[in-house]
Amino acid sequence: MESKDYLNDINEIKELMNKSSRFISLSGSSGILAGIYALIGTYLAYNIIYFTQSPSDDYKTLVLYELEMLQLFGIAFVVFILSIATGIFLSWRKSKKHNEKFWDATSKRLIINFLIPLATGGFFIIFLIEKEIYAFVAPLTLVFYGLACVNASKYTLGYIRYLGITMIIIGLLSVKFLGYGLFFWALDFGVCHIIYGTLMYNKYDRS
């Protein structure tokens, strides 16, 4: 009986437990890119919103025309789609590189559990917009996205959990500073994504 064999057994057990229950090909660099898209998006949004009003004006009141509103939704939509597409593409490439299956029980479970809080938040926010209550839109997107990350973290790399918790905290904090939603957005979707994406990239992507 060799001790080396037993160590090998333990390693194999760990690897199989991880591989069978978590989607391990999630790409860290896609997080970095999503952060960059978000920063560009918020920069464009900032220019649209404060084109007429100078930022030193009262942030709490925002006068937007329909065209500007549509432009903002357009930017948010493009950033969202680009981030998702990048995430899928880079994770797919990573799974190919490591000879893992991309679409299997673990990736399905990950997506479903990510989407449940996210879709709940999405509908909630759409209903608020319908009622023309805009103040809480930015904080709620952050909080629900954070919850989605925490929920998804059980099915993929653990870092997502801390990203989610950070998002939730900053989201809640932003309720205290209504009117500065765009800055919190840039901080959360932009800076946090880049930080956690870099951490994940360093830990899992390289090699």
């Binding site: 199989l16 437990m17 069978s20 229950s21 299956k101 299997d104 029980a105």
Partner: protein, 97 residues
């Protein structure tokens, strides 16, 4: 060596150890999932899963999804306890060395 008394012979094989590892962290897994994760042949997987079933460590359910037969596996209480004991024994041995 008294340390070896808790080593379970049923898990003294890469495939049986693998089946148990996967089922410990998943509610259930079907035949094809196990096959892909463990990278084994049908016959190999079938015979090893049968021996775990005989030891009453895993539970086998045969059902139909549409027209396709589907076999899915899950751990039994006995199996979970035995596997935990086995892992503890492995860790003890590694620590002692």
């Amino acid at each position: 060596m008294s340390l070896l008394t808790n080593i379970n012979k049923a898990f003294d094989n890469r495939i049986r150890l693998g089946i148990m590892s996967i089922l410990m962290v998943n509610e259930y897994a079907d035949f094809n999932t196990l096959k892909e994760l463990l990278d084994v042949t049908d016959g190999n997987l079938a015979s090893h899963s049968k021996s775990l079933e005989k030891a009453e460590y895993i539970h086998v359910e045969k059902q139909f999804i549409g027209r396709k037969p589907n076999t899915r596996y899950s751990t039994t209480k006995l199996g979970r306890a035995a596997f935990k004991k086995h892992i503890d024994a492995l860790e003890q041995i590694i620590k002692k060395q």
